[in-house]
């Protein structure tokens, strides 16, 4: 338990969220999921997390705003942005994330990125 790294996955798309949960669990991670930014911030208050996988386009608070909040509170916590939108990559507001991975059916890049930054 103690040696398992814990990920927080924030994504409003249920299918993607649950798929990521399955995939990362297969990769031997401890996974907590949140379906929006508020819920994610709530989780961070109560749980210790090693890395956050964050979607951008979400109802309510979007990922960029959530990212700002997360990095301002948890300065050492790495956040990986996982989005179908590639153009936010150019937005300097997302630059405080450690990486930006574009959504794809192949998770190799995401796995690699998470592994590198955890």
């Amino acid at each position: 338990m103690a040696d398992k790294k814990r990920l927080l996955i924030i994504d409003d798309d249920k299918n993607m969220r649950e798929l990521l949960e399955l995939e990362f669990k297969d990769q031997d991670y401890d996974v907590i999921t949140a379906e929006n930014a508020f819920e994610g911030l709530q989780v961070l208050k109560n749980e210790s997390v090693d890395l956050v996988v964050l979607d951008i386009k979400m109802p309510g608070m979007d990922g960029i705003e959530a990212l700002e909040k997360i990095v301002s509170i948890y300065r050492e916590l790495p956040v990986v942005i996982h989005s179908a939108y590639s153009h936010f990559k150019e937005n300097y507001l997302t630059w405080s994330a450690v990486a930006y991975v574009i959504k794809s059916g192949k998770f190799d890049e995401l796995f690699e990125t998470v592994k590198t930054h955890i």
Binding site: D13, M16, L19, A84, S86, I102, K103, S104, G105, K106
Partner: protein, 585 residues
Amino acid sequence: MNYQELIVNNLDRILDFWLLLDDKGKIIYCSQLIYRELGYCEADIIDQPFQMFFPANDPGSADYFYQLLFDSYSGSVVNQKTRIKLKNGVIIDIELSLYQLDTEHNYILIAFNNITEVVEIRKKVKSKIESLYKELNLFDNRTIYESIQDFIDTILVSITAGQGLRFNRGFLFLVDEDEGVLRGIQAIGPGSGEEAGMIYSDFDSAPKTLSEMIEHYKLMIDTDSAVNTILTDVQINMSDYQNVLIKALSSQKYILISDEYPLINEPSVIWLREMLQVHECAVIPLLWHGRSTGVIVVDNQVTRSQITTHDIKGITRYAESATNALESAKLMNSLDMSINQIKQANLKIRESQEILVQKEKLAVMGEMVAHMAHEVRGPLATIGGYASRVYKQMDESDRHYDSISRIVEVVGTLELVVNDILDESMPEEEVTMGCDCSKAINKVLNILEEEIHLRKVSVSMNIQGDLPDINIKDHHLFEIISNLVRNALEAIDNDGLLLVLASSIDNHVVITIQDTGAGIQSDVEGKIFSPFFTTKREGTGLGLVVVKKLVEENGGTIQVRSVLDKGTTFIISFPVEPDGVENGG
């Protein structure tokens, strides 16, 4: 010899009408012409006072004779205009001269001419000037006159026409402000005496309205060329104040050049008289808002009749309105030019606006497409992710293994298409550049196997065995071939033939995809590569655009040949990778 008889008998040959009065003012002798032309007989006249000729109800006619006597105290009065009545009561205009022959015996000779015709003509001219003047006011209504040339014609015609001011010839000079010269513009009138006869005999049959006259003039304009040559190359420097034309121009007063003109020996006067071959001519300045814009020179070279102050008055008055009209025409002309320029500019603006709108449209479309592509990418990742997940855990012997592997493959290709639409490429992705056509063709046909079967299409494939690799990304070639094959299948509909050929020709790989489908109508053949052009009910019209773009981006060419109801052939050609060049990655 009886001198008295000699003179009286011959006086008829010298004077038209004449009367001899005694010291009581009674007529004692008169010319035969008075009997012949005025209808009186000897009994009517002899021993009657001269006043008998005056119309009975003409007020002051009694005094008039005494006035004449008084005026002739020095011996004579000449060229006095008055009116007398004929025997039949008709009143005529005369010009008379009275000479006191013998102051001792008070014999008086009165001679006169019938000037009724002249007066009539003058009246006619006057009324014509007035009507012309009225017509000239119509210059404001410029639709009648299309150009400055029309104005110039109008002016010159009016000056010389029989119904107009009736000068023989008119010469127009205009100020060229840019060059600082007064330049000969145009002339009208007979070039010679014979021509004059021809033109002036035309008077009675001449057209009545000004516009008709101008038309007439335009027909004669060649005959006028002789007179126009006089003006060829005539230009006078505006600073040449000694020149009579410039003098009239700067003083803004007409100059009547005749033998009485005091500066008759001025070089420019001699020059003008020589140029026009006349003794007498008048220089009339054209003024516009106080500015001198040119001069008209008129003469009576043919008829040699004197230019009177009346004539000058007429033309001065005419010149005034003509200049107004001319200057208005010039203004209208330049206004027209400005309007044209503005029109041109507007047209350009509209054109560039259209281009902008078109660009805007394309930009909006581009944004829309990008937005859609992004929206598609999320669900696509989910489908691909789940499919891969199942695929990885599946045994090859599983009966769904092939189905799942195809889902994974197609989703993978779709993701690459989305990337291409968004002009992005996965940086981490290893892209093999050396690409085997036969593999791509087989892959496409495998994926479309079911549809081929469903449509009962026979496929004939002929791929050259040792086909060299071409320099294109796998998924690009796949996209190209699958689009073309899909189009072919849709065109065939049912029971047709699909032919796929690939061969190497002259360092190129040529792929031919031919169908026996409906063919393309020749009028739309040129449009099939245009965005959003489609003949399919549910098509986006982007398929062939993407194909063309991908082919060209990879250094290839695409051609289409189609015969309606026979089928369509697409031929794509890619250059072969030169040997020894490293593949990308």
